[in-house]
Amino acid sequence: MKPAREMDVFLTSPWIPAEWIKAHGLEPRGIWSADNFWQQAPPLSAGVCAFAEAAVRFAEARTDSAVIFSTACDQLRRGFDAVVLHGQRRAFLFNLPATWQTAAAGQIFRSELERLGQFLLAIGGQAPSPEGLRQEMVQSSRTRKRLLESASAGSPRGFAEAVARFHWDGAFSPPPPAAPADQVPLALVGGPFFAPHWKLLDEIEAAGGRVVLNATETGERSLLPAFEFEAGANHPFDALVHGCCDNIVDVFQRPNTRLYSWLKPRLASRHVRGIVLWHFTGCDLWRAEAQTLRETFGLPVLLLEAGEAAGVTPRDANRLQAFIEMLKAEG
């Protein structure tokens, strides 16, 4: 990946629309796709999420860029507090509403986007034109559609790389097709899952499994459906608000039934036989879902925890092998 330029705007959540930033003439970047996001294992205090800590360190180091935190979890929310305390001025906290069944949630999302727009102007962005915004939305919709079409057939690692590329610069890089093999179909569900962790996909394949559904925060789940424009009747900003707010599928939402509604048809159509629940140490939101996932889908769930170090620990590789062996034995 190419290095970030000055005034890149790094996003800590895929639910903050990159199109809005692009329309302001700035470069949106998924923070998890940055080469130097996970440079070294940060020493963590008890209970601190490694992802949130990496975001804090990144924001404190990259004073030439802006970092947009989100309120999707307590750890990022308070990570923003730490960043501001230590003097980073180009940081912004986007209030993602947890509720979604009321008009108020949409209003919060809309006003937060407007506030983000003010922030982007303040750091050197340009006022977005409706046409410019529409073009960005059309372009990203097209790319997401192509990525979604390749999701189930692409190689798991290639697909993870393609989504990461999309979150980095909006480009489409087609994932190579998955090699046909008699492997146990698995779903990978959970929080951010990025380059240093992709080795897990190789481990899964080596053990005889294959991720046919990457439902991590940086996988297929992060790809919104195409924006809908009502025959020129609505301003693209309205379409952006609804297209994002109405389609967030995440564990932090209350109730989080959307996540389950999203997973259900995909798990069934791809004949998933087991779920690997991927979460960072200290992530209560994902960890608490393990039992509900088991109960709802009747599938075995393996919890894998991303700690400070990159890659897969021998212990986790061992657990993964046992999990897949168990599924194989069940036939």
């Binding site: 308070r78 919060i108 608490a288 879902e289």
Partner: protein, 458 residues
């Protein structure tokens, strides 16, 4: 003379008080019965204030579940309100025949019952293990119905709240307990060109956030009104706010009197329990007022007579976050400290609710003043102000095991305290039963007390 008593000593003290004509409310009785009947074994390890007012306080606290069951039997509607710590109960108690309580309060049950209830183990079997805050005890408590009654309505604030609580509440809903979720945005400072509202606690928020919270509370109010069979109107809500403010004024007087006295006229443990009454009136608003009036009269009398439970030499401590094990409050005093300021995560439930605003607007502003929904720096700023006003010599930040907010906030608060007022501050984690950690906790607290004392001579 005021002093602290063990539970055994209280047995005799109670008999003496009865012989002397002690008059008690319906929930009164010897403290010992809570061990015998409710298995509140932790009481045997605690030290209590020896006043009848403290006895009443403890009996009031420890009979809450029984009083709730009785209220249900009497036809009252029960509302379980979660996480907002102080706002929704003001609305609920403004309606006739409605009682609101915090199932969150079950987090003290493992402590009180010394884990004999097995709630934490049951929570683990339900998918919520020890990596979560002890509030996970509420999950099996809901399922087994052996503690509080199952509420007729469950309300939970979400958004800028602790992840662990939110995750546990979501698990509860998956288990079939329907929840009315209402959005609490993360409070932010208003921009320079933005309409702003003053909030209690010297805070401010953009008007747009206050409007959103008011809209959400309106939705909650409708659900409460439907449950009660009566619309929650402005007049009723204004009366509810006035009654809540009566509680808050009493608590303010109590805190002022105790924290500013030359020595502590009431122990830290009873002060913690008294402050907790603010959030939902321990399921009986009128009785809360009576309990607090008794306590206030007791401490005022003690101060007039120069009678204290802790020596004048005690180091003045500000305590941040509630403790999972009540024993920790005794421990601090045993090691030479006294509480002279506190932030038990609900300072917004101590501040007066504005009475000069439309009631729902006033409540929305109060809800937004919650120290846990805003920037940690705001919380730290209040702590600093209160430390300065109370001539505090050291700060203790107690971590709640597994609580998501504790991962980072303590470090931020310590940094700000150190930078602004330069007094020593420590962070320590207190589990539901801290016995095994007493040597470690004790030495850390002792080091803090000694450091603060050493600074006096400089």
């Amino acid at each position: 003379m005021p002093r602290k008593l063990s539970l055994s000593a209280w047995d005799g003290r109670y008999e003496q008080l009865r012989r002397d004509g002690l008059s008690e409310p319906g929930y009164g009785g010897p403290l010992r019965r809570h061990v015998v009947r409710e298995k509140d074994f932790r009481l045997e390890q605690l030290q209590f204030d020896n006043s009848p007012a403290a006895l009443r306080l403890w009996n009031f606290l420890l009979t809450e579940n029984a009083r709730l069951h009785q209220a249900r039997a009497n036809g009252h509607k029960i509302v379980g309100t979660m996480k907002d710590l102080g706002t929704v109960p003001v609305m609920a108690y403004a309606l006739p025949g409605v009682r609101a309580f915090y199932p969150d309060g079950a987090w003290w049950t493992p402590c009180l019952m010394e884990c004999s209830d097995k709630l934490l183990q049951q929570a683990e079997a339900m998918g919520i293990d020890a990596s979560f805050c002890p509030v996970r005890a509420m999950l099996p408590a809901f399922e087994n119905g052996e503690h509080f009654p199952r509420p007729d309505l469950l309300v939970c604030s979400t958004g800028a709240v602790c992840d662990d609580f939110s995750a546990i509440a979501q698990r509860l809903e998956h288990l079939g307990h329907s929840i009315l979720w209402w959005e609490m945005p993360r409070r932010r400072p208003p921009a320079s060109d933005e309409a702003a509202c003053a909030l209690p606690g010297n805070l401010a928020a953009p008007k747009i956030q206050v409007d959103r919270v008011r809209t959400e509370l309106q939705r909650v109010g409708k659900a409460l009104g439907k449950l009660a069979g009566k619309t929650l109107d402005d007049d009723g809500l204004a009366a509810g706010i006035r009654a809540a403010n009566q509680v808050r004024r009493l608590l303010d007087s109590l805190r002022q009197t105790v924290y500013s006295a030359p020595a502590a006229p009431l122990p830290a443990l009873e002060m913690l329990v008294a402050e907790m009454l603010a959030i939902h009136f321990c399921s009986d608003r009128e009785e809360t007022i009576a309990v607090l009036e008794d306590l206030l009269a007791e401490v005022q009398s003690r101060v007039r007579q120069n009678q204290f439970v802790i020596g004048t030499d005690a180091v003045r401590i500000f305590w941040v976050n509630p403790v999972a094990d009540l024993r920790a409050m005794n421990l601090l005093e045993e090691l030479g400290g006294r509480i002279c300021g506190s932030d038990y995560m609900f300072t917004h439930a101590l501040d007066l609710i504005p009475e000069n605003l439309p009631p729902l607007e006033a409540l929305a502003r109060t809800a937004l003043a919650d120290p846990m929904v805003g920037p940690t720096a705001d919380r730290a700023a209040r702590i600093v102000r209160e430390c300065q006003a109370g001539h505090v010599e050291a700060v203790v930040i107690s971590r709640i095991p597994g609580a998501s907010h504790c991962a980072r906030e303590g470090e931020i608060i310590r940094e700000i305290v150190r930078h602004k007022i330069g007094i020593p501050a420590i962070e320590l984690e207190i589990p539901p039963i801290c016995d095994a950690l007493l040597p470690n906790l004790g030495s850390r607290l002792q080091a803090l007390v000694e450091t603060a004392r050493a600074r006096r001579t400089k």
